[in-house]
């Protein structure tokens, strides 16, 4: 043992907490600069910071580090999906059937338009279908966080969040079912083909069910104390995220189900509404920096044309559905267009889905990435701006302080 062995060895090893701090501060600085100098949403600044530091920029955050940071990304997604799930109100969909119809049409048409456009571009049906399934979903993180940043409330905000919750679920279910097709394509055994989607769907739903049931019972026992409910819910959220990871289930579906069931099974109103936003903010910054870091600008050169068609077809699908149906719900004229714009951001979950596919079948993943990820890159940057525009234009943003 040398005399100086207590000193750290160089180069310094990667440490998750150090990484978290660095990502947080870098993203935070980028967000503030973007917000103050360019008047753009902070989220766009986080993504730009990630792009700058990531594989397409300075290369400081490589795949290794991005994987280290995945735990924070998962926590951020879990918090957002839980909150989003709590906004999805089944009773509302039953009262306003035109809104339910809007949700169904919006998911169906955005899938159909993207699928047909991609097939028209000579992309094989399986790839077109998986890419289209990913396109159904609007980014829960972007819509939630822009709405929170603007402290927006009103019909456009509420309806956008409900539509996002629904299209996220639909995208996930369709994507999971297509998994069978992928397995089949790669000649996996029948057991895998049939059981993998069932395991993912049923397992994630069950996990969400157990978590929400525990939350309601604990909430009843704790009584109406907001600070206690906050800690209890955060604990259950993190636990559920961990379980989903360990059990190879879907964090997305499990946490969304947790939120939805916590809202819709709580008939005695035992659970309080808590504000996870302030605590979540730490993780949300890291989420977007890491997302930005994993985006590849070089794919934009090769996949740019496909991305443009993809984005356009998706927007057409969503707009046609929303514009033709939402006015039947009786909201103000003009709200439909804004609602369609607010649904533009693409889900960072797309990246996760591509990665998962890559994990299973690397060749498939690479080809899917070429189709989808350029569109994700563009919409990660434009999406927050679109949502901000829509909610402000709808007059639903709170007056901004300074």
């Amino acid at each position: 043992m040398s005399a100086l062995s207590y000193l750290p060895s160089f180069p310094l090893p990667a440490h998750p907490v150090l990484l978290f701090g660095l990502l947080l501060l870098a993203g935070f600085a980028g967000g503030e600069i973007t917000h103050r100098m360019l008047k753009l949403p902070r989220i766009t600044g986080y993504v730009l910071t990630g792009l700058l530091l990531g594989v397409s920029g300075l290369g400081l955050i490589d795949h290794e580090l991005a994987r280290e940071a995945q735990v924070f990304v998962d926590i951020a997604m879990g918090l957002i999906l839980f909150e989003l799930g709590r906004r999805l109100d089944f009773k509302w969909l039953r009262r306003d059937r035109w809104f339910a119809a809007t949700a169904a049409a919006e998911s169906t048409l955005s899938f159909a338009c993207v699928y047909l456009a991609l097939v028209y571009l000579d992309i094989q049906p399986l790839y077109a279908a998986v890419a289209a399934a990913i396109g159904i979903a609007t980014s829960p993180a972007v819509v939630m966080l822009v709405a929170q940043e603007l402290r927006a409330e009103g019909q456009v905000t509420e309806r956008a969040l409900n539509l996002v919750a629904i299209n996220s679920v639909v995208a996930f279910v369709v994507g999971t079912m297509l998994l069978s097709w992928i397995h089949l394509e790669y000649r996996a055994g029948w057991v895998t083909v049939l059981s993998h989607p069932v395991y993912l769907l049923a397992g994630s739903l069950l996990l969400g069910y157990l978590a929400s049931w525990s939350a309601i019972l604990l909430g009843r026992w704790l009584g109406k104390r907001e600070e206690l409910h906050l800690v209890m819910l955060l604990g259950l959220i993190v636990l559920a995220i961990g379980c989903a990871n360990v059990l190879k289930l879907s964090v997305l579906l499990a946490l969304l189900a947790f939120g939805v069931m916590a809202k819709n099974m709580d008939h005695n109103h035992d659970l309080m509404q808590v504000d996870t936003g302030k605590i979540g903010q730490l993780f949300f910054v890291v989420l977007f920096v890491v997302t930005g870091a994993t985006l590849r600008t070089n794919e934009l050169m090769t996949g740019g044309a496909i991305a443009a068609v993809y984005i356009l077809a998706r927007f057409v699908g969503k707009s046609v559905a929303v514009l033709s149906l939402v006015h039947l719900s009786g909201i103000r004229p003009g709200s439909g267009g804004l609602l369609a714009i607010a649904l533009m951001p693409m889900s960072g979950a797309a990246i996760v889905m591509v990665h998962n596919a890559t994990g299973l079948y690397p060749e498939f993943g690479a080809r899917l990435a070429a189709i989808v990820l350029s569109a994700v890159l563009i919409l990660e940057l434009i999406g927050p701006i679109a949502v901000q525009f829509a909610l402000r234009k709808a007059g639903e943003a709170a007056q901004e302080r300074g």
């Binding site: 509302w92 009103g154 019909q155 009584g223 109406k224 309080m272 009786g330 909201i331 709170a398």
Partner: protein, 379 residues
């Protein structure tokens, strides 16, 4: 020209109409929402009686009934308006609640409803305009001319504590129990033009006063006076504005029936002369009613006796019973009497809701469930 504007339109005796200011809540945490414009737009597309209008902030709507002669038709119309408003709100995943105040909203979150008049009020009164997100019931009683309107105003002033105690439903403000039964009127008192009508007896004297105030540049129209009781020349009515919006439309109709029977008693029998002394004890009595409700003590300026508001109301209910019978309001006033005897009040209901649930979010939720009735059962 000014005088023409304030010509007092004659109304047939003892007709009545009701205005209710209502709370728009979200269905997540039951805080105030901001959807008045969308909600009014949707209600206008449905068939409904009465009228629905915006109020000072985007979290409020006002509903008006048409003119009624008896309690039965009034309560019927109020129920139909309630159902129309409640169904439209449920369609937008909103909730509507009665009650004089929202239990926990923060006034600084409120946004002014974008009309020229409301923007002007914000300009003039600053934060008071947003704090004015409180919810009252106004009752109009038809009178034949301006002189009668002033007489009725001066005599009814004696009974203002009754109206406050019977309607009190604003025990909570900004997340705290205020210890008042009606905290809403404290907010009204902050406005410089609140208070009472000047002690004039004829409409011509009143016009002189009004034109002077206009000449000073203090007011432009009658709307600028935030008086507790205000003659409304263009409707030909006396408008009583001290009521908190009750938790149900049935209660609102019963309160209107009480005012109607009282007005008939006053105008038919002319039992009392107008007295300046009523206004000397006015603010004390008003405070007692706001603070303690039915258990408050009032000073009767005519007899100089101290009585509890509860006893005073019960006495009055007995006195006006024949007039109530004449107007077809006996059952409504008997129900009111039963509530006074057992000291049941909306403020008490709200405090009990808080005691049993321990959360003001739950209080607001239960408030909305009570007001909306069956509209939420549909799905």
């Amino acid at each position: 020209m000014m005088e023409q504007m304030l010509e007092f339109k004659s109304s047939s005796g003892f007709s009545m109409g009701v205005e209710l200011e209502l709370q728009i809540l979200n269905s997540r945490d039951y805080n105030l929402a901001r959807d008045a414009a969308d909600l009014i737009g949707l209600i206008e597309k449905t068939r409904h009686p009465g009228a629905v209008k915006p109020e000072i902030t985007e979290s409020m709507i006002e509903v008006n009934t048409s003119i009624h002669r008896d309690h039965g038709s009034l309560v019927e119309e109020l129920r139909r308006i309630r159902d129309a408003v409640a169904q439209a709100a449920a369609h937008m995943n909103l909730r509507i609640a009665g009650g004089g105040s929202h239990p926990f909203h923060e006034w600084s979150d409120r946004r002014i409803y974008p009309t020229e008049r409301f923007e002007h009020i914000l300009e003039v009164y600053g934060y008071l305009a947003k704090q004015f997100t409180i919810f009252g019931q106004h009752v109009h009683i038809g009178v034949p001319n301006g002189d009668e309107a002033l007489y009725l105003t001066h005599i009814v002033s004696r009974y203002v504590p009754h109206f406050i105690a019977l309607s009190a439903s604003s025990p909570f403000q900004q997340g705290e129990d205020t210890s008042y039964q009606s905290s809403r009127l404290n907010t009204v008192s902050a406005f410089p033009l609140s208070g009472q009508v000047p002690f004039v007896r004829s409409w011509s004297e009143f016009l002189e006063y009004f034109n002077k105030m206009r000449g000073f540049g203090i007011v432009e129209s009658m709307k600028d006076f935030y008086w507790d009781i205000r003659p409304k020349p263009e409707y030909g009515t006396v408008e009583i504005r001290v009521f908190d919006t009750p938790l149900t439309v049935e209660r609102a109709a019963a309160l209107a029936a009480y005012v109607q029977a009282l007005a008939r008693y006053i105008l038919c029998g002319r039992p009392l002369p107008p007295s300046r002394e009523v206004y000397m004890v006015y603010n004390y009595n008003r405070f007692q009613a706001c603070r303690y409700g039915l258990r408050g003590k009032l000073v009767d300026a005519y007899s100089q006796r101290h009585v509890t508001i509860k006893e005073d109301i019960l006495d009055m209910l007995r006195v006006i019973a024949p007039h109530a019978a004449e107007l077809g309001a006996t059952a409504a006033l008997e129900q009111l009497m039963a509530d006074v005897v057992t000291e049941r009040s909306d403020a008490g209901w709200l405090r009990e809701a808080y005691r049993s649930r321990g959360s003001l979010n739950d209080v607001a939720r239960m408030q909305s469930e009570l007001w909306m009735g069956n509209a939420l059962m549909g799905a």
